[in-house]
Each structure stands twice: as structure tokens, then as C-alpha cells.
Amino acid sequence: MDFELSDEQKMLADAAQRYVREECTLEAHRAAAATPEGFSRDHWNQFAEMGWLALAIPEDAGGLGGSPVDMAVLMEQLGEGLVVEPIVDSTVLCGTLLAKSDNAGLRAKLLEGIATGECIVTLAHIEGDGRSEYETQVGATATRAGEGWTLSGTKQRVFHGQTADYWLVTARMEGGVGLFAVARDATGVTVDTHRMIDGTQASDLSFNGTALGADALVLAPGATQAALEEALDRANLATTAAAIGSMEAVMAITAEYIKTRVQYGKPLSTFQALQHRMAEMFVETDQAHSILYRSLSIALSGSAADLGKAVSAAKALVTQACQFVTAQGIQLHGGIGCTEEYVIGHHYKAMIVYEKRYGDASFHLARSAR
């Protein structure tokens, strides 16, 4: 067992660290949240240029074929910088789904587009009472129409749905649930978009007899469910790494702040109660790192069922750790920590988003023990 980063991984981490330090300022973050898309196209283009959008894409589709470890190395750095761009949705979640497609032409076209950043793809899956992508019924239907299909149904909370060039839409068809690629400019779609707490957008999509071509099928029934689980698990690995980066950032910023903030004639950092709080944040963050390593180990060698349990274990632990660290980061700052003009609160919001996307803490705790 060897925990050392490879030279390539070190270069990746260094580049991401430098980028975050130089470009991912709070001002940039707040500015992006105010745009219609809710993220920064500048960042996005830079990500593409750095090759980061190609990292999770298979080599045979023009990507770099990086491992989950590589992606985690990158995402931990980006998490420190509060990255909200759809890198996980498009390259990890949809990238994994598309990589499993037998539809060679579509697979090649979309994966190449994802890897270059020219194409943003996002998953449209949740319906009705579904609390997450793991826990939803599929009622949308794709009925045969000539060579193609007609798509009808409603999908909720499609993150970056208004921005995406393609949606990967689950629908009930002959034989079960399949996955289709639908271009944003398809006919018969209503898009109702909402702002999220981190400034990003999510959309409710209504398909009313949307016509799909013969080449729109990404995954046939039988292949879809397993692919979805694996893709969601890989997405969770990436966002978990980002959450850990966020925790490291919160610790560093908070330690610095309490060293300079003076109350009762001495720096806050001299109060033992606050020192111990920092120590508790450190314990949580250290454990978060460790369980991520564990889940990455299983991602590299374990079965799909092992992966699911390991990812859920990681998310169950890291959500709790991240909740504690970001909330206490605010607490140790005092009033300023509660303001939109200061960075700590944005990490708190990023924690909420992390926890609620791709299955929440409660879901994952139960799944870890299945």
C-alpha cells in the first residue's frame, strides 16, 4: 500500500491549487452566483484548457482516462475554492453513464464534447416523491415512434438543466427503464428554472411528446440501473473530495482569523475552548480524509456492491464531519461568519449542497449497512 501521489497527480494537485489560489476568489464566486447560468464560463473554459474536464473521460473517447483517485486529487483542491461549475455532473456522472453506452456514435460525440468543455451534459432522473437520484421511481415514458421514440413525463431538480447542452433522461420503455440523450433544443420541452442556495441553477423539465431520434438511446433497460448506481457513486466520491477540501479551507481560514481577532485584550486563539474546537474540527477532517481513502481503495478494486457501501460509508461520515467543521467555522468567526461578504458562510452552503445532492446523509448511512 502506498499513499504517495504519483508525479502526474502531484502536478495535477499543484496546478489546481495554484488555479484556486489565483482565480477562485470570493469575489469571483459571488459574481458567478449572480449570472444567469450560476457559474463562471471563464472557470469552465480554463478547466477545459487544463484538461480537467477530460480527466474522468476514457482514453478511447479522447479523455485522459484518469482514475477516481486522480479525480479526487483534483476535486479536493477545487473544493477549497468553492467550485460550483458542473464538472462532476457533466464529466463524472454523465461521463460514466456515457462511457457505458453501446451507442458508439453518440458516446463518441458526447464524451468528446464533455472532455473539451464544449458540451455540458446533466442527468434528468428524479420524479415525484423521489428524494434523490438513488431513490426515485421513473414514470416518464419513451414510446416507440417509427425508428425513434416519443418522450413524455416530468423530471425534477435537473441541476444545471437550463445550461446543459444535453440531458440524459431516464424513461420507461419496452423492457424497463432506459436512458436517453435529449438535446436542450428538442421540441416539446418546458424548462422551469430555479436558483439554488449556492447560486447554481436547477430546472424542472416537462416533456410533452418530445420526439427522439433512433440514435438517442444511451443505455437500454438492463444496463441502466447498474450504470446509474455506479455513476452516482463516482459522483459522490468526487464531491466528497471537494467537501474535504472545503473543510481544509475552513480550518485554515478560521485558525488564521482567531489568531488576529482580539477580544478581552487577547487574541481569540488564546482561549482554550476555541483551541479545543479547532482540535475537534481537525479530528473530523482527518477522519474524513481517511474514509475517502478507504472508498477510493474499494473503487479501485472492489465490486460494484462493495463500492456502493463504501461510498455511502464515506458520505455518511463526511457529511457529518463537514457539517460540524463548517458550522463551527462560522461560530469561531462570530457575526462576520454569518455574512454573505465573508467566505466561511459559503463553505457552509456548499456543505448543504454536498449533503443533499446524490443522496443525503440519512440515505447513505442506511445504505452503508445494507
Partner: protein
């Protein structure tokens, strides 16, 4: 010992309920329950006037100054019923903070001038206590008031002034003597017009997107010297009085009790594993735990309200109310957000929250306000004496540590 609500109290409860039914409309109740920060200003002022006219706007005030003369249990019933019915919450700064300071420390002229308008809610009050360098350590405040003829001239900067944009008047802690030890040179002074020359304000946006607080910059603001409350340099005692006069509000018990109902409502509609979330064992166990903690807190409030005997000082127990109350606000808000699930991620700014009617079945009417409230509750363990400060107080008052 008699631990029951009497028949009289139950009759009083019915009277309050009838009054609330008579005055509150469905629209007002919906907007109150959504709980945006700050609440709807017009409705809050209207409700203050309605209660003022009834003589019910200041349950805790002595009768001679316009209070209704209720016993603590009536106050408790009134507060709970108002909250449960969805009545707008009256702003604390006038009725709970400066009002009691005025009737306790101020001149007859000041009382005559300010108390009636506070009771009717016609003027709202800005609290100018904290400063950039004086948070928990309030005594180190630097804003000065220098006598110049018949006026004090104020210079300095205040922050964390709640809902500053709605305030006509203000009460400020200022340094009137810098030659003595910090606590001994502080005075409290009233600014009659928050738009007076020399005052600049800047709203502060909180992480939930709410402009719920602000900064006040004082640049040679001239305030008549008769606006000083009590004697010069006695402001520290007044501030301490203000912060401890009412010991139970910080428990936020009425909000807690009503929020539990709201969570019940959400969890009966949301579904998990094909059943109402309320039947999910993990969720219901969390809800049960918090419910028990709220029940305990309610009786801690009653004990303090009723001056129940205890082997421990009421100062320490008041800090318990603040600590446990603020912790519970956070836990309750977390549970509410978890009940909502992924829908909690949607951002509702204030006007969106007020406007949302829940007509879109994908976004039920119980969604707006919940997540914003969670973010806001992060401040509960900070403002009004941070949790760490409260623990210092308990260690000292209860154990002499």
C-alpha cells in the same frame, strides 16, 4: 407546589385565541409562517398597532406603563398562542429592549415621549451596541459622544444593527468618558431620527441572502443632551439591565414549539421508501429526541418565568435558556431542512418567499423559508452573547470557577 394550568388560565387562552381568529387573515398567517428574514414590515407594524390598541403589545411591561398586568403564565400562553396562530412577531428592540430601559432609567419626559409610540409600534428602534472591535467584549466600544453645548456629538461605527432599514429611532452605547475603566465611561443615548445629518447606513447581507442587519456610521452626529438616558456614564448598568431584564426570550421556545408542528406537516407530506417520512424510523427518532428537548426547555422557561426555587442562581439558568434555546433552533432547522430533502436547496429571497403560494405541486408551500432559517440560525449561538460567553457565565455563576 402546583404544577397545573388553572381554569382561569385556560379561559384566558380561549380569549386570546378568539382575538387572534378575529384579526388575522390567512394571507398574513401564511407569510408569518414562511418566516422570511426580515418579516413583512407593514404587517408587523399593523399588528403592533392592533395589539397596542387592545393593550396587549407589551405583556412584560408593568401596568403603569401600558402593560396588560398579566401574570407570567398568561404571558406564556399569550406568546405561544400568537406564535401558533401565525401572528406577525413584534420587533424586540422597542418593546423588549429599550422600552424597559426607558421606564426603569429614563426621565418622565423621556417616558412620556417614547413609551406610547413603542407600545403602538409607530416608531422602530435601531440598536447600536456592537462595534468592529467590540463584539463579545462589548465594554471595549470606541464610539464617542462629546458634549458640545446642549448637544452630544457622536462619532464612531456600529454594526449588527437588526433590520436597520426600518428604524426611525435608535439607542446607542457611546463612550462619554475615556479616562476611567472601560465599563465606567459608557452612556446610552437616544437618536430620534436615524436619517439625521452625519448618519450613514449600510445593510449587511447574511448568508441566507437576507438584509437583516446593518452598519451605522456616525460622523459628528449631534444629539440633544436630554436624549441621554439616566446619568452620564451609567450606560453599562443600563446595558446589563437590558440584556438580562427579560431572561426567557432567548430560549425562543415559542418558535421552537411551532417549528415542530411545521416539521410534522412537512414530514407527513414528504415520502421516503414509499411511506410518509414521519414513519421513517430514523427521522421519527430524531424528531422524538428534539421534541423531548423542547419539552424540557419549555419547562425551564416556566421555571424562570415563575421564579421557581432552585439551588442555582437565575443568572446561570438564564444562560442555560440561551444556550439550549439557540442549540435547539439550529437542530430544529437542520431537521426541517432534512425533512425537505433536496428541495431545501432552492434559494428563496424574501419577496419570493412572501409571494410563493405553493400552487406548483413540485414546490409545495412548506418549502420557502426553511433553508434560509437554517442559515439564519447559525447566528443564534453568536448574537446576544455567544454560546462560549454563556458558558463562561455559567461556570462563574453556578460553580464559582
Amino acid at each position: 407546589m402546583n404544577l397545573q394550568f388553572s381554569a382561569q388560565h385556560e379561559a384566558f387562552r380561549e380569549e386570546v385565541r378568539a382575538f387572534l381568529r378575529e384579526h388575522l387573515t390567512e394571507e398574513i398567517v401564511r407569510r408569518t409562517h414562511v418566516g422570511m428574514h426580515p418579516p413583512c414590515e407593514d404587517e408587523r407594524r399593523w399588528w403592533n398597532r392592533v395589539l397596542g390598541e387592545k393593550g396587549w403589545s407589551a405583556p412584560q411591561w408593568p401596568k403603569e406603563y401600558g402593560g396588560p398586568g398579566w401574570d407570567p403564565i398568561c404571558q406564556h400562553i399569550f406568546e405561544y398562542e400568537c406564535r401558533a396562530a401565525g401572528a406577525p412577531e413584534l420587533r424586540w428592540q422597542g418593546l423588549r429592549l429599550i422600552g424597559p430601559v426607558i421606564y426603569t432609567f429614563a426621565t418622565p419626559e423621556q417616558k412620556a415621549r417614547y413609551l406610547p409610540e413603542i407600545l403602538m409600534g409607530s416608531h422602530m428602534w435601531a440598536q447600536g451596541f456592537s462595534e468592529p472591535g467590540a463584539g463579545s467584549d462589548l465594554a471595549s466600544l470606541k464610539t464617542t459622544a462629546v458634549l458640545d453645548g446642549d448637544h452630544y456629538v457622536l462619532n464612531g461605527q456600529k454594526l449588527w444593527t437588526s433590520e436597520l432599514q426600518y428604524c426611525e429611532r435608535g439607542f446607542f452605547l457611546v463612550r462619554t468618558d475615556s479616562t476611567v475603566k472601560p465599563q465606567k465611561g459608557i452612556s446610552m443615548i437616544v437618536i430620534d431620527d436615524m436619517n439625521a445629518p452625519g448618519i450613514t447606513t449600510r445593510l449587511t447581507t447574511l448568508i441566507n441572502g437576507a438584509e437583516a442587519t446593518g452598519e451605522v456610521f456616525l460622523d459628528n452626529v449631534r444629539v440633544p443632551k436630554e436624549n441621554l438616558i439616566g446619568l452620564p456614564n451609567t450606560g453599562w448598568d443600563q446595558a446589563k439591565f437590558l440584556l438580562t431584564n427579560e431572561r426567557t426570550s432567548s430560549a425562543e421556545i415559542y418558535k421552537a414549539l411551532v417549528d415542530l408542528h411545521r416539521i410534522h406537516d412537512i414530514a407527513s407530506h414528504e415520502r421516503k421508501n414509499g411511506k410518509p417520512l414521519l414513519e421513517d424510523p430514523e427521522f421519527s427518532s430524531r424528531l422524538a429526541r428534539i421534541t423531548v428537548e423542547v419539552q424540557a426547555l419549555e419547562w425551564s422557561v416556566l421555571r424562570v418565568l415563575c421564579n421557581a426555587p432552585s439551588r442555582h442562581s437565575v443568572d446561570a439558568r438564564a444562560s442555560v435558556l440561551k444556550i439550549r434555546g439557540s442549540e435547539l433552533q439550529q437542530k430544529i432547522a437542520e431537521l426541517a431542512v432534512d425533512a425537505l430533502g433536496q428541495r431545501s436547496l432552492r434559494l428563496y429571497l424574501r419577496e419570493e418567499g412572501f409571494a410563493e403560494t405553493g400552487a406548483n405541486p413540485l414546490w409545495p408551500g412548506y418549502v420557502p423559508g426553511i433553508t434560509g432559517d437554517l442559515m439564519y440560525t447559525r447566528a443564534y449561538t453568536i448574537f446576544g452573547g455567544a454560546k462560549e460567553v454563556q458558558k463562561n457565565i455559567i461556570a462563574k455563576m453556578a460553580f464559582g470557577l
